[in-house]
Symmetry: C2
Subunit: 415 residues, 2 copies
């Protein structure tokens, strides 16, 4: 039996055992994991050093090496994040709906764990701990499949979690880590329909696209963010500029950063220079349509490809539009259904934009950078879903639950 | 451009227009469709006759021909079902959650249409009308891909819907029917990720398995039902027998019928004959394990395969078990996560069973036949989901919605 199949079966079995566990039992286990990471710190750093050494030999970039790197502070942060997770409300068991039928049947829909979650991810070993503890909190078993670039770190962290679970009422088989990080093990996970209830990819666009395209198990797509800011005719200039700068420059490498600014032509003619000056000051490269390029000498001419591009860098594409309809149409064509904002003093235009733009989060007079599980107050985030089913937008603990109908009768049959 | 691609694009465009439509506009359109079906009755019956004629020539079975067949009564029923749908509450626009942040941001999660729904189905032309009107009620566009055996019926019904929509504010492109019913058109739908938000297969296990296995678009699996009844030691004999007979024989061809009965050995020794006599009277064939075969001379010996089998006929497999744990383990191994019931007077065993059995609906002292959108009071049913994501169990109108975060600010940026 292959490693993936064996661990899939073990995870499924563990998931059945997890079903009946109480919040207290799960929190107790989390506390043990938080402790164990600190106890095992030296071992974790030693194994992490192996990944870093191999990464250097393999010529990984500094930014990737930084994502792989653990240190005392980062281990402490992981441990503290678990303490934080313990304080969050357990969604499992919540009654979502009660239906009382005339024949006396009582039908209750309650939140239950999903079962077995698969997580496929790149570099960052902190995802190992993060994903495993979110799964445990919600009564799910998890199969972790990290990348080869962090394999020593991922294994030592999994071992640490197992040591902690061995001291508790939760089965250690609840957390499975695939050691084989070649393409075959990923492919096997894609088709592990008998044991896997959902697969969540976390990483770059290429990884996500591959999982969406190939997997026959249900996938939650945590997607790319080609986010737009539309500055309407009536937008207050200072507000628009402040939000544009925040959305573009506060953290350009993340999915909720602004990649493209659409500007009503009247606003552009009146305040365009002010915005351009502010972007220039922040060293943002501007790629513009014809009207922008006419006015901004250092702007590059945008190609069709640019409107589709998530730069994740200090680059922004700018297009001048005639009205809110053109902005909506552009976003629905080129956007990735993540986060989209309008700046306007016209409530009618705001309503039209928020209703018609197809995205997980739509903003009126605020920065797209708020699309984030912590900013939304969920206390945790598994990822940001850009698909329509199950969960959309920032996913907190509830996104790791399913529902189940519990029906109580006293002998009812169907007539 | 292929038919599927062209209709996919048109449906996506229509879905954007549907976003802003009011409940009144949608209900008005539904009323026109209900009317039009009656106006077009003669034409519909003429086209349906072509399908029936071809079906006879191709040697389709009487039961399949009956599924394809339309008559005045069935058209009237379809029209009345739409009148009923009009009276149901529109889930779109419902506020699911409101989060007020300290910085003044107001975050609201609201129900919105999914976008474009794909429906792939066999024989029954009534699904064409059913699926199209459920989609319209929830503001979704739909792409229908029926089977060749009902192609004339499906097209004439779609034409009728288009005629009705032409009289309303809703775009006729909201309902698309694929005329090309070969394998290629299905395959194209499986991978229409740019235009399709979800694909729902309705039909036999083979169709569903193919869609789950091949599609890269998100799928809602409406599944098979290998449903069990567990009769515990303390079960009241009359209640257990009544529910067994109802679950097995009231309508054996449906997914929520009972396929397998697990019996505590003490109950079996005391009341087994009573149950067997009742099943025999209803002409139910019994396939049993060794203990059952010893006691029931006409029972056939069960193979491993039998425990996996959804008979959809007057056949039942019976197994004697030692305790509730063995019953739970058997169901979690062989079940299809649809509907599972325990008959017991022991509340502890009931709780254990309901918690530990992994299924969309779990019953204590009631028949599994109640797993149904109409029985649950939803007033409509798109199918019964046996997967864990998005919707589980009977799917009503809410299952055809997604959610979207609407964020209202007054200039907030992230620090």
């Amino acid at each position: 039996m292959s490693e993936v199949l064996e661990k899939g079966r073990a995870a499924k079995k563990a998931s059945f055992l997890l079903n009946g566990k109480t919040t207290a039992e799960k929190n107790e286990a989390l506390a043990r994991v938080a402790e164990q990471l600190l106890i095992d710190q030296e071992e974790i750093l030693a194994e992490n050093a192996k990944d870093l050494e191999l990464g250097k030999q393999n010529g990984l970039s500094d930014s990737v090496l930084d994502r792989i790197m653990l240190n005392e502070k980062r281990i402490k942060d992981m441990s503290e994040a678990i303490q934080q997770l313990i304080t969050l409300q357990d969604p499992v068991g919540e009654t979502l709906e009660t239906i009382q039928k005339d024949n006396g049947l009582i039908i209750k829909s309650k939140r239950v764990p999903i079962g077995v979650i698969g997580m496929i991810y790149e570099a960052r070993p902190n995802v190992t701990v993060d994903a495993a503890t979110l799964a445990l909190k919600t009564g799910n078993a998890i199969i972790l499949r990290g990348s080869s670039s962090a394999q020593f770190s991922n294994q030592v962290l999994t071992n640490s979690i197992h040591r902690a679970l061995a001291k508790t009422n939760l089965p250690i088989e609840a957390v499975q880590s695939i050691e084989n990080t070649n393409r075959e093990s990923a492919k096997e996970l894609f088709h592990l329909n008998d044991y896997l209830d959902v697969l969540i990819p976390r990483g770059g666009k290429k990884l996500i696209d591959t999982v969406v395209k190939e997997a026959s198990v249900p996938v939650i797509e945590t997607g790319a963010g080609n986010c737009h800011l539309f500055i309407d005719e009536s937008a207050k200039p200072e507000m628009a500029v402040t939000i544009a700068i925040n959305g573009k420059t506060q953290r350009p490498s993340v999915c909720n950063a602004i990649e493209s600014i659409l500007i009503h032509e009247n606003w552009f003619n009146q305040y365009g220079e002010q915005l351009v000056a502010a972007l220039k000051e922040k060293e943002v490269e501007i790629i513009g349509d014809e009207k922008v390029c006419q006015k901004v000498p250092f702007a590059k001419q945008a190609t069709e490809e640019d409107w589709y591009t998530e730069y994740l860098a200090l680059i922004v594409s700018i297009k001048v539009v005639s009205n809110v309809e053109e902005a909506i149409e552009h976003i629905n064509q080129y956007g990735t259904r993540h986060s989209e904002a309008i700046i306007t003093e016209n409530q009618g235009h705001a309503d039209q934009f928020l209703t018609s733009v197809d995205a997980a989060a739509v903003y009126h007079n605020a920065s797209t950078r708020f699309t984030d599980g912590f900013e939304f107050g969920f206390g945790a985030e598994i990822g940001i879903s850009t698909q329509k089913l199950h969960a959309r937008g920032p996913m907190g603990l509830k996104a790791l639950t399913s529902s189940k109908y519990f029906i109580q009768g006293d002998g009812q049959i169907r007539g």
